[in-house]
């Protein structure tokens, strides 16, 4: 043995190693067959493009699948998972290196590479993998967090993996003990195992025999484990990274439009109606339960659990998907009705996924934000809602009322027959007159007042939004914003009665038809209003309008430069047009509206402005920024009576109150409605909900410093009463 060239004999003590290749054949057959049958199931779905833009995809792949940023949001799970998969990957590379050495003559098993990588690194990572597994077992079986459910499968494959790792070290230890490997110290764990074997006083022949047995045993276990991959949740080893690569690159807030003229089905009521990527999603789930933990509906005991939606659909696909593969005779889009042995196939929407579950979703996107493997729950839930809303015309009563009102009145608030311009009584808010000939800019005292023509002098079109225009509490916010805009010298105008609901409510209910009708009307109006002259921006105080105008109208020919009022106010402050001189002596916490934060990544603008308020103390709420807890009003649920479980808005109100802040600042009319209601119930008049615009109104009021009064939240500067 040449002591100057570190190495070891590959396949020491093993005879008939070629048997290994014979055994590998069925393993590979099982592996590829498994994935092939899955591939056939995914292909039941409709086509969609997910391979464009590979640079962005690779970058996201690196962050999601290699660095695994999202996994590390929870430190323990992050490291645990990193140890296991990192260990597995390194050991796999080590094994591959053996093959390189053996068949291609790459000298991986000698020299410094052998010492540092094949011995030391492999040993350390093997140990880390064991540590990771121990952490996993401890958490799953001792800590038992509710987000993890325990199936026998988990125990089997965790145990199997542990055995593979331990037998690996046993083999190494025995080899070192028998061959008295001079480089044993480079394999510290193997060395320790060797020391242990020697300490037992075992005879060398026994060790040789044991080594040979362990080697084959280890091989068999490892092969069994590989064969299991496509049949257990280990599938995610392959599917999760692929899913991250194929994630949606579109704006987060954009739902895929349906071409209603050509559509052969509406929404999704069976597997054929999903895209192949939506079916692929189901097999990419790691069952980690992060989405479940994030979900406000699940937290308040609704029958919705995003993890269960994914897993129930997955199980349905695995069990009944093969029946879909036989071509349906008459309707190519229909689901199979029964199994070959005559059992009925359960209906996907209604039985597999309960309607109540679908209607509990606030579309807050917390699940998608939490999911480490980029599964797209919300579009899937929305597709099933679309089926219910459009094909079945079935939805909760409050939503049906909103639809009825939208159909006839262009806004979703039943019973609020007033004019859109009622809120601006007494304020100088110019209303654009888009009728032929237009008009000149003038102070509008209400409906039918003189308006400004499309050629009028304005830089910013303020999209008021239905909630701001019709809801009494939010009208105050609109009035505050009007004052703030005036103080900053912004030349703005509103559309008055020509504004219709953007259709967000209709779209999130699932009524794409109504949404597209409204979108068409609004795009025509906006294109007329913004058409000629210099480029103009749209500012809106409603994150739902913001999201729809910005990300969804482009699909219908409306391309606009849209800012949310929190961003716009920030710009005005930064450019010195707005001076926050007035004192606002308050402890404030900021509630991130889902459609502003998670959907559009606006987190810092409102926070900066709050910090700039003199006298104000800002405290962070539990579940802030990307993990914000929904107010309960998204997805048109603001129109629905929450009858099941506890109230989402009360849960959020309690979280807000726990900060000790007396003011909960938000920037969305639905959040305002929900939080004001929740706070009233949970903390009486102690804590108030205010919109950022109202605080800024206070800070910019010429009257000077004034404390924000508790109660209804009306600003003293508000001339409305």
């Amino acid at each position: 043995m040449d002591l100057s060239n570190p190495m070891r004999e590959v396949y020491w003590n093993i005879t008939g190693k070629n048997l290994m290749y014979v055994l590998l054949v069925p393993v590979l057959v099982a592996f590829f067959r498994g994935f092939y049958s899955k591939y056939r199931l995914w292909k039941i779905g409709r086509p969609t493009r997910r391979r464009d833009n590979w640079r962005r995809r690779l970058a996201g792949f690196f962050r999601g699948a290699v660095v695994q940023e999202k996994n590390f949001r929870d430190r323990y799970s992050g490291w645990m998972h990193f140890f296991i998969w990192g260990g597995m990957l390194v050991l796999f590379i080590g094994t591959a290196n053996v093959a390189l050495d053996e068949y291609l003559g790459v000298p991986t098993m000698e020299g410094l590479f052998y010492l540092y990588f094949q011995s030391l690194v492999l040993d350390v990572f093997g140990l880390l993998a064991i540590v990771g597994l121990a952490m996993a077992l401890y958490r799953r079986y001792v800590v038992r967090p509710p987000r993890l459910h325990r199936t026998p499968q988990d125990a089997v494959f965790l145990g199997l993996l542990l055995l593979v790792l331990v037998t690996g070290f046993v083999i190494e230890g025995l080899r070192i003990a028998v061959t008295e490997d001079p480089w044993a110290a480079w394999s510290p764990v193997g060395w320790a195992f060797a020391a242990a074997f020697r300490a037992t006083g075992m005879a060398a022949e026994t060790m040789v025999g044991l080594h040979r047995f362990s080697w084959w045993f280890h091989l068999a276990l490892a092969f069994a484990w590989i064969a299991c991959v496509p049949y257990t949740k280990l599938t995610h080893l392959v599917t999760s990274p692929a899913n991250i690569y194929m994630r949606s690159l579109g704006p987060k807030g954009r739902l895929e439009p349906i071409n209603l003229e050509t559509a052969e089905f509406l929404g999704a009521s069976n597997l054929r109606h999903f895209t192949w990527k939506q079916l692929f999603d189901l097999d990419a789930c790691t069952e980690c339960g992060r989405c479940q933990d994030a979900c406000p509906a699940h937290a308040t005991l609704k029958p919705l659990n995003p993890k269960a939606v994914v897993l129930d659909l997955r199980d349905y696909m695995h069990e009944y998907g093969p029946l879909y593969l036989r071509r349906a005779q008459d309707d190519p889009w229909a689901a199979p009705a029964e199994t070959p042995d005559g059992r009925p196939v359960p209906v996907m929407v209604g039985a597999v996924i309960a309607e109540d579950a679908l209607w509990s979703c606030t579309t807050c996107r917390a699940c998608m934000e939490a999911c480490p493997v980029e599964i797209e729950h919300v579009p899937a839930i929305m597709d099933m809602r679309r089926f219910l809303a459009m094909d079945q015309a079935s939805m909760p009563e409050g939503m049906a009322d909103a639809i009825r009102s939208l159909e006839t009145r262009g806004h979703p608030f039943r019973g609020t027959g007033g004019a859109r311009t009622d809120w601006l009584q007494g304020l100088d808010v110019p209303v654009l007159d888009l009728s032929a000939g237009g008009g000149t800019r003038g102070a509008a005292g209400g409906a039918g007042a003189d308006g400004a023509g499309p050629d009028a002098d304005f830089d910013v079109l303020w999209w008021v939004g239905c909630a701001m225009a019709f809801d009494e509490r939010n009208q105050k916010v609109a009035r505050s914003l009007a004052r703030v805009l005036h103080r900053a010298g912004v030349r703005f105008a509103i559309l008055g009665n020509r504004e219709k609901c953007t259709g967000d409510a209709a779209r999130r209910i699932g009524h794409e038809y109504l949404f597209q009708t409204l979108a068409g009307e609004n795009v025509a109006t906006l294109n007329q209003a913004l058409g000629n002259g210099r480029p103009r921006r749209i500012v809106t105080a409603c994150p739902h309008c913001y999201n729809t105008l910005k990300h969804e109208y482009p699909d219908f020919g409306g391309h606009y430069d849209v800012v949310h009022h929190t961003e716009f106010i920030r710009e005005l402050v930064d450019s010195g047009r707005l001076k926050l001189d007035g004192e606002v002596r308050e402890t404030i916490t900021f509630h991130d509206p889902c459609y502003l934060g998670r959907y559009n990544d606006v987190y810092d603008a409102p926070r900066k402005t709050l910090k700039d308020l003199s006298g104000a103390e800002v405290r962070e709420i539990e579940r802030a920024r990307e993990s914000s807890f929904c107010c309960g009003g998204g997805g048109a649920l603001v129109f629905v009576e929450e009858r099941i479980g506890t109230r989402i808005n009360q849960t959020r109100a309690r979280q807000a109150a726990e900060t000790g802040a007396r003011t909960v600042c938000t920037a969305c009319p639905f959040c305002m409605t929900m939080l004001a209601d929740g706070l009233k119930t949970t903390s009486g008049d102690e804590v108030q909900a205010l919109d950022l615009a109202e605080l800024v109104d206070r800070a910019t009021a010429p009257a000077g410093p004034a404390a924000v009064g508790a109660g209804t939240g009306a600003s003293p500067g508000d001339g409305s009463r």
């Binding site: 015309a393 939805m395 006839t408 009145r409 027959g417 004019a419 409906a447």
Partner: protein, 266 residues
């Protein structure tokens, strides 16, 4: 069974008093931007018809509306919830008819349709709220009339079983055909939402328009109304809250009680 449902398109009944405007000269509401909707009880009537057709396992529903061109929207909505046919009755001679005139026109249309087994209308329109047309239509057709119906089912021998709301509860009645029923709201008869497929099909369906000439009606005779509106105005007590005053809560309560009696509210 042939069912005819009469629908009226009206100005949005949810407009609050403070936003309600009229043109006193024309004696008409003046809110050009207001939404137009189907009268609420007419919607109930349509739902009653749809449920009857389901229970009977068949039948034909024809929606009829007398009104301006815009009323076609009301009829499209009826088609969208699967009314089988719709007819618009529109003619300059039909504008501003009193209930007698309206009933005459509707009656002529129903006769032109070949008659009906059951004619449903709302108990009142939801705008002028006269509450007459259904009953007058019964007279035009020589049919009996059941008022305040909220549900209809097929009865024995081709009769119709009608559920009528009464102050003390309900009556179940059986009527021979033809019969007219005016419909009131109940938990069971809120108009369903349309399925999108039906909505889209409704937009493509032709809706014939019949004029006075088509119905063989003499415009001059129609114009001779039986009533005349002398004035239309917005009552002033609606304008703002009148606060009842008094030293003690008891005084205020007494003052309130007196006002309620004076205003004939109790």
């Amino acid at each position: 069974m042939n069912i005819v449902v009469c629908l009226k398109q009206i100005i949005d009944y949810e407009i609050p008093p403070r936003a309600f405007r009229i043109d006193r000269q024309k004696k008409k509401p003046a809110m050009p931007d207001a939404s137009l909707v189907i009268g609420p009880f007419d919607e109930n009537a349509l739902e009653v018809a749809l449920q009857l057709r389901e229970k009977a396992g068949g039948g034909r529903i024809t929606a009829v509306s007398m009104g301006p061109e815009s009323a076609i929207e009301a009829l499209r909505k009826a088609l969208a919830v699967t009314a089988d046919e719709a007819v618009l009755l529109s003619d300059p001679a039909f504008s501003d008819l009193d209930p007698f005139g309206t009933a005459r026109v509707l009656g002529a249309a129903i006769k032109k349709l070949g008659g009906a087994d059951l004619v449903l209308t709302g108990r009142q329109s939801g705008d002028w709220d006269a509450g007459q047309v259904g009953q007058l239509l019964a007279e035009e057709l020589g049919a009996p009339c059941v008022n305040f119906a909220f549900r209809a089912e097929p009865g024995g021998d081709g009769r119709v079983r009608l559920y009528k709301e009464t102050p003390g509860g309900a009556e179940i009645l059986e009527a021979g055909t033809p019969v007219v029923a005016t419909v009131t709201n109940a938990e069971t008869n809120q108009l369903r939402l349309a399925k999108v497929r039906d909505l889209m099909a409704a937009n493509r369906k032709p809706v014939p328009t019949w004029s006075a000439a088509d119905l063989g009606l003499d415009p001059a005779a129609l114009a001779a109304g039986r009533i005349e509106v002398l004035d239309l105005y917005v009552p002033t007590y609606d304008a703002r809250c009148e606060f009842v005053t008094g030293e003690t809560p008891e005084d205020k309560a007494s003052a309130l009680a007196r006002r309620l009696v004076e205003l004939k509210l109790v």
